[in-house]
């Protein structure tokens, strides 16, 4: 068969396939189904693939091969694109994938926790013995700011000074941007063979430990801890999770197991995204609690401690119990 005969024989098929694929892609975007066209699609796609392979093999003209290549590419994309509904995916993630993934990599979780709280405790011990060390870790301006934020006579603890509700919303926006940004950067830092993630965890741990210890030394301890304990269940855990996800990326490069580094990294990235999704959700919750609850002075310290403890219990139970089937 010459090239001309090839074109003459199959031209109508190609035009028909182009019409069908246009209809199908539009229908999919509008979430309709189109029965008749859909039934014919697999067979005509397979025939088109055969024709492309034939054209390549026989060295037909470039413009025919390019045209067939484009049609096959569109058919290929339509056939293999996965389109699970987003709400179902979210529900699956919350109930099943996130807790399971965290349990699966629980050792990385404890490593990340150690990298964060180890230095925090270390710096605390040092500052308790030698209070001036806090100025080696934080700038004096910041130390003063923190002292002021938790001073006993304040109307609201934390960053925002007055009690207006739109001020709380400002803080909500601030916490979302700041904390989730830190979480994303910690995760991304893991790509540098885990070093970026570890460094950010250590840095955050030292910072947190220094501030906490200094305020306790100053006497604002209850104000500070009752502030933190409410949203800390979500926020501290989330930062550890971000570090865990980053370390997962790093370790996939260091010890890829039986796969190539490229494959190991791709799979680790996919799996650790489940952790990142959960981290984002937890940080949004933390921002809510931090902006609208933690900083209020109308609630007693005791109440805050109790609520905080309950939230920690909720988080622990979530990771221990959810998504299990037959002892996973």
């Amino acid at each position: 068969m010459t090239q001309q005969e090839f074109i003459a024989r199959y031209e109508t098929q190609w035009k028909e396939f182009e019409r069908v694929i246009n209809v199908l892609t539009v229908a999919r975007r509008q979430r309709r189904t189109s029965g008749a066209d859909l039934c014919e699609f697999p067979r005509s796609y397979r025939q088109l693939c055969q024709q492309l392979a034939l054209a390549r093999d026989r060295d037909y003209a470039a413009y025919i091969i390019d045209r067939l290549n484009n049609l096959v590419l569109r058919g290929h994309q339509y056939l293999y694109e996965s389109r699970a509904g987003i709400w179902f995916n979210i529900l699956q993630g919350v109930v099943y994938r996130f807790p399971r993934q965290v349990r699966h990599d629980i050792r990385l979780f404890w490593l990340a926790a150690l990298l964060m709280f180890g230095p925090a405790v270390g710096v605390s011990v040092v500052i308790l013995k030698q209070p001036d060390v806090v100025y080696a870790v934080l700038q004096p301006v910041m130390v003063d700011q923190f002292e002021e934020m938790y001073a006993p006579n304040r109307q609201r603890f934390g960053v925002e000074a007055d009690n207006a509700s739109d001020g709380k919303f400002l803080m909500f926006g601030y916490y979302i941007r700041n904390n989730i940004g830190v979480g994303f950067r910690t995760f991304a830092g893991g790509l540098l063979v885990g070093i970026g993630a570890a460094a950010l965890l250590i840095f955050n741990g030292v910072f947190f430990g220094a501030v906490a210890t200094h305020l306790m030394v100053q006497g604002s301890g209850s104000a500070f801890w009752s502030f933190v304990i409410g949203h800390g269940a979500f926020e501290l855990t989330a930062i550890v999770l971000a570090g865990m996800a980053g370390l997962k990326l790093g370790f996939s490069l260091i010890s890829p197991g039986r796969m190539t580094r490229y494959r190991a990294l791709s799979e680790a990235a996919r799996d650790s995204m489940q952790i990142v999704y959960g981290m984002v959700a937890m940080l949004v919750l933390a921002a809510f609690v931090e902006a609208f609850w933690s900083s209020s002075t109308s609630v007693s310290f005791t109440t805050k401690y109790v609520v905080g403890a309950c939230l920690w219990a909720v988080v622990a139970l979530y990771f221990l119990l959810l998504g299990r089937d037959r002892g996973h």
């Binding site: 003209a61 919303f169 926006g173 979302i176 970026g196």
Partner: protein
């Protein structure tokens, strides 16, 4: 010869070809996106500066979304093309040719943080130059590729002459070479065009000006004109 085509073998056993987009095109697309983001930033800032604390909170949220999710939304809902990429006619695909989903797009965009180090996408640029398919670190981790959107090439503009078949069946790369020559020869100097045409004298069986004309005739024939 430098061949940058990216070949996918589909489950049906047929080869698909894509052409990865290089460094300069991607930089330009990023630049356009940056200008758009800055314009949105300025507009939103001006609008919300009038509304006090609530507006400031909203502004911070908008900033957050712009920083991290601007590329993701477009890549997921606009067939892998942010406005900058659409302007440069390139798009993001997974390395098996399928459009990107949420997780893939998030991986490649969250890891921009690392690509940006040490300064102005340093690591990203190095990665693109070293990788075979111009992938930055985010692309490598997410398994994606930035390719040119194939325009449906109708016909390239050839000098119109009477078509004449080549004396032998030409394989595809040589067909492309003849077509490319016919497309560009009118823009070359006469001497240069003759010099090139004389290189394949066995095909054209002539020299000089008539060799060029014979190549035009073969190109027209390869195009499908009879």
């Amino acid at each position: 010869m430098l061949e940058t085509a990216y070949v996918i073998e589909t489950p049906e056993g047929v080869r698909l070809e894509l052409s990865p987009a290089g460094l300069v095109v991607r930089c330009l697309a990023w630049g356009i996106d940056l200008l758009i983001r800055m314009a949105v930033y300025v507009v939103v800032a001006m609008g919300l500066s009038l509304t006090g604390n609530m507006g400031d909170g909203l502004f911070l949220l908008v900033l957050f979304l712009l920083e991290w999710f601007y590329p993701v939304i477009f890549e997921v809902y606009r067939e892998g093309q942010t406005p900058g990429k659409r302007a440069m006619a390139i798009k993001v695909l997974q390395d098996n040719g399928i459009p990107v989903g949420w997780t893939t797009s998030l991986i490649r965009n969250l890891l921009r943080t690392v690509d940006f180090l040490p300064v102005m996408y340093g690591f990203g640029i190095v990665s693109m130059l070293l990788s075979r398919d111009f992938r930055r670190l985010g692309d490598l981790a997410a398994g994606t590729l930035v390719v040119y959107v194939e325009p449906t090439r109708q016909s390239i503009h050839l000098p119109r002459v009477q078509p004449h078949p080549p004396p032998v069946v030409l394989p595809l790369p040589e067909q492309r070479a003849v077509l490319n020559f016919a497309e560009r020869a009118p823009r070359l100097s006469e001497a240069r065009a003759e010099e090139l045409a004389n290189l394949i004298q066995p095909l054209t069986q002539s020299e000089g000006r008539s060799s060029i004309t014979r190549l035009y005739q073969i190109a027209n024939w390869l195009q499908g004109r009879r």
